[in-house]
């Protein structure tokens, strides 16, 4: 494929998007080539989804412009205020989270907000039904259009999402944000076939995926982002997978290596997990026969793709998944995981993935967010000793360097990185033996990331045993003494020392896909 064969149909120029605390996109440009599968890749937080949302009118860029090209090469600048305007310009998006209404049937979903009406203003159901049947036939998925969408399989729902976009008049560009993350292999094959048919008919596809092998199969052209910045672009047939991985994670490690020189064989096992299984609602398993152990003062990394079962593993250990089976030994003694409060008493602490929805209580101040898990420690006869509580909070603020003007301020007054430190501090205040960290550096700026890594290392050298989940290769490689890799609920690798390489981690994370 020569670059001259490529015709640009949409150009995003120098797009910048700033969120409080982070620059999500830093002067990123992106070309959508006509009739091609344009792949956008990068690690979590690289800015892929944000860029797509800018193009689809879901978020607004702070700087930069969008140019739409006609077939004859003339361009015009467009501004997209919302998804309706994007649709008017022939741009459709399929979001990572499906945006269907499970309580409505197939054709009602397909025509939502684009309803066909009769002259008297009522819905023309017959026309919608016919249109829906036609579009689904085109997609080789003749699903009965009266079926409730909630009763369809995820793969079928994905088709409805595509069908919704195909009825846009004059659809030029279809953005697909990780459409395959919940599809089976067969469903992925069908999806790829449809994608090729769409591109053959002149529709341009923008494709985001974490599954790199898929990209090699379906992609025509690739652009790589890292930390909100443009890194490289190339035609897929000219490049190798290893080049893509290297570009994604960066060549020079920005994290300092930490060589601990500890003979782990001499350390005691603090935690041992045997045959951990977690059933999936509706059949299948989220975790299958997972075995691992954790040693005193060790940092154990867990790597894997989205949906590999990483968070679920921590949730099992924390008592949030009562349906799990398997044996858990704490310091050699088998424990019965009842609920979160009993696990906290057993010496576990958990920092969840999403600090806004699972970590913080937004209506409480900084102090109470710190002490929420450990209040009983500062209480006598059920009454809180305010001085004790305040002192404990102060010492933790000092310990993990949280920038706090006053502890009585709302939690929202802190930056993302400092909010995250509060969630970690809340866990540390329970004086745990084992700390579970689920994506502790997600959505915080780079400086805060380094500080978080320092906090993790400091506590590990004080004797705390830590399990860290991270999607960032460089990060997990830098902090972990040992890494286990999960793929589709199976443990596919356990790596120590020199075995810990990008290649090994990435390959193990795809096993079984």
């Amino acid at each position: 494929m020569d670059k001259n064969d490529l015709k640009v149909c949409l150009k995003a120029e120098n797009i910048t998007k700033i969120y409080p605390g982070t620059v999500a996109l830093d002067e990123v440009s992106f070309n959508v080539y006509k009739g091609k599968v344009n792949v956008l890749i990068g690690e979590n937080g690289a800015g892929k989804s944000t860029l797509m949302k800018v193009i689809a009118g879901i978020v607004h860029s702070d700087e930069g412009r969008l140019l739409l090209f006609d077939d004859d090469g003339t361009s015009k600048e467009i501004t997209i205020k919302d998804t309706n305007e994007a649709k008017a310009n022939g741009i459709g998006i399929i979001n990572q989270e499906l945006s269907l209404f499970p309580n409505m049937n197939v054709y009602e979903n397909i025509y939502m907000t684009k309803e066909i009406t009769k002259s008297n203003g009522t819905l023309d159901e017959a026309a919608q039904r016919k249109g829906a049947e036609e579009v689904l036939k085109k997609l080789h998925h003749p699903i009965p259009v009266d079926t409730l969408v909630g009763n369809l399989r995820v793969g079928q729902q994905q088709m409805i999402e595509i069908a919704k976009n195909l009825i846009i008049d004059n659809l030029k560009i279809l953005i697909m944000d990780e459409p395959t993350s919940s599809l089976s292999k067969q469903e992925v094959d069908v999806l790829f076939k449809i994608m090729r048919e769409l591109t053959a008919s002149g529709i341009s596809i923008v494709y985001i995926s974490h599954r790199l092998e898929e990209i090699m199969e379906i992609g025509d052209y690739v652009e790589i982002l890292r930390d909100g910045k443009y890194i490289a672009d190339a035609a897929i047939k000219d490049v190798k997978l290893s080049w893509i991985i290297k570009s994604m994670v960066g060549s020079s490690s920005s994290y300092s290596k930490w060589d601990r020189k500890i003979d782990w064989s001499k350390k005691d096992k603090v935690l041992e997990v045997k045959n951990l299984n977690l059933p999936k609602p509706g059949g299948g398993k989220l975790l299958r026969d997972v075995n691992f152990n954790l040693k005193k003062s060790e940092i154990l990394g867990i790597y894997g793709l989205m949906g590999a079962g990483r968070s679920e593993l921590c949730e099992c250990l924390m008592g949030l998944r009562k349906e799990h089976t398997g044996e858990i030994y704490l310091n050699g003694k088998k424990i019965d995981v009842k609920n979160v409060s009993s696990q906290i008493k057993n010496g576990f602490a958990f920092v969840p993935e999403d600090r806004q929805s699972m970590g913080l209580v937004q209506c409480l101040d900084i102090l109470k967010n710190f002490t929420l898990s450990s209040m009983d420690k500062y209480s006598k006869h059920g009454v809180i000793n305010k001085k004790k509580e305040s002192d404990a909070c102060d010492s933790k603020i000092k310990d993990i360097h949280v920038k706090v003007a006053r502890k009585s301020l709302p939690i929202l007054s802190l930056s993302g990185g400092n909010q995250q430190k509060v969630v970690v501090g809340k866990g540390l205040l329970t004086e745990p033996e084992i700390l579970l960290l689920d994506e502790p550096t997600r959505g915080i700026d780079i400086g805060a990331k380094y500080e978080m890594i320092d906090i993790i290392r400091e506590n590990a050298s004080k004797g705390l045993s830590i399990i860290v989940i991270s999607s960032e290769l460089k990060e997990i490689m830098a902090i972990s003494d040992r890494i286990i890799v999960l793929s589709k609920g199976l443990k596919t690798a356990e790596l120590t020392g020199d075995e810990i390489t990008e290649e090994n981690l990435v390959l193990a994370s795809y096993k079984g896909h």
Partner: protein, 349 residues
């Protein structure tokens, strides 16, 4: 300089917003004391306080419930049921058919039994809400009908009108809760309100339990992950609300010296209004006992003040409605401002 003045401006606005219910209360008092000349007298104020005690106690229980993100529609019916339990036990006693005689309890025992039953009904609400995931609105709506039905069944809809008791049976003295203390103008019910208010304000601010329920209402998932026993604490909150309602039932029956099965009807709405006027957020997580008491006073002053001015009951309803919705609009405005101020602190750092 500009920034500073903007900051102090919003600080001042915040102060006004936070004190809004007090400001409204003062304005209402001034207004009524001008329009109704005998409004500002000790007797009138204590009369208002006597009425306010009822909404206030219900409102405190309701505040706890709303803080967890729930609602309790059954409190009015529990008021009626608890009055009927007390009334029946004093008037008819407890007939034990198998043994063929009737048991009479003394007044403290009667009251304790009524409060325990109210608490149990509340606990059942909490049990259905937590164990079976019934929406609080529905669970307590169902309980509202059940409790009211039980109240009616107790006497087949009739009123127990002889609550003076009998010296021979040792169950006299029930009128105490409706009277004043000795020869002072202070109603006993106001003292009960103060005791409950101080206790529950202390619990809300100074105990882990109080902060735990705020956390549950603020972010239930985060509260769970923090190790808070959500189900247990919610059940306790509904239990408390039921017990508060039973106390109000006792006071009401004592004030009238009669127990009527329909008493307390729609009082749950007054309780909700008092809580909301006092700044309790219907979304959960935010609320104070002091605020609710002031909210109850606003409602009480509107009710009694307008009666004294001769305003019709129909207008009272309209004005109450406007005040409540207005309070929530201001509340929303305050939250937005609070968020903006917090974000400003964040950007300054």
């Amino acid at each position: 300089m500009n920034k500073l003045s903007k900051k102090s401006q919003s600080d001042f606005l915040m102060l006004l917003l936070k004190g809004r219910t007090v400001i409204v209360l003062v304005i209402l008092m001034v207004f009524f004391s001008i329009v109704a000349p005998n409004f500002l007298s000790i007797e009138t104020l204590f009369l208002i306080a006597k009425h306010v005690a009822l909404y206030g106690i219900l409102g405190i229980g309701m505040t706890y419930v709303i803080i967890t993100g729930g609602i309790d529609l059954s409190v009015g019916a529990i008021v009626g049921l608890s009055g009927m339990i007390v009334g029946g036990m004093i008037d008819e006693g407890v007939v034990i058919n198998a043994l063929g005689y009737t048991l009479y309890f003394n007044i403290p025992a009667v009251c304790i039994i009524a409060v325990i039953i109210g608490a149990l009904i509340g606990a059942v609400n909490g049990y259905f809400i937590t164990k079976f995931k019934v929406a609080p609105f529905i669970a307590t709506l169902g309980m509202m009908y059940v409790a009211r039905g039980l109240a009616m069944l107790r006497s087949n809809g009739a009123t127990f009108s002889n609550l003076s008791g009998n010296v021979a049976l040792g169950n006299t003295g029930f009128e105490i809760f409706g009277r004043n203390i000795g020869s002072t103008p202070i109603p006993v019910s106001v003292i009960i309100l103060i005791v409950i208010a101080v206790g529950s304000a202390f619990i809300l601010n100074r105990t882990p339990f109080g902060w735990h329920i705020k956390a549950i209402g603020g972010n239930e998932k985060a509260a769970e992950i923090s190790g808070i026993r959500i189900n247990k604490e919610k059940i306790i909150v509904y239990l408390f609300s039921g017990a508060c309602a039973a106390v109000v039932g006792i006071i009401t029956a004592s004030q009238l010296m009669a127990a009527h099965p329909a008493s307390g009807e729609t009082w749950e709405m007054n309780a909700i209004a008092a809580a909301v006027l006092g700044g309790t957020s219907m979304a959960g997580g935010i609320g104070t006992v002091g605020g609710t008491i002031i909210g109850a006073f606003v409602i009480g002053v509107i009710n009694d003040g307008m009666v004294m001015c001769g305003v019709s009951e129909f207008w009272q309803m309209i004005i109450k409605g406007v005040v409540i919705v207005g309070a929530v609009i201001i509340d929303q405005f305050q939250r937005d401002l609070q968020t903006k101020m917090a974000l400003r602190v964040r950007n300054d750092n």
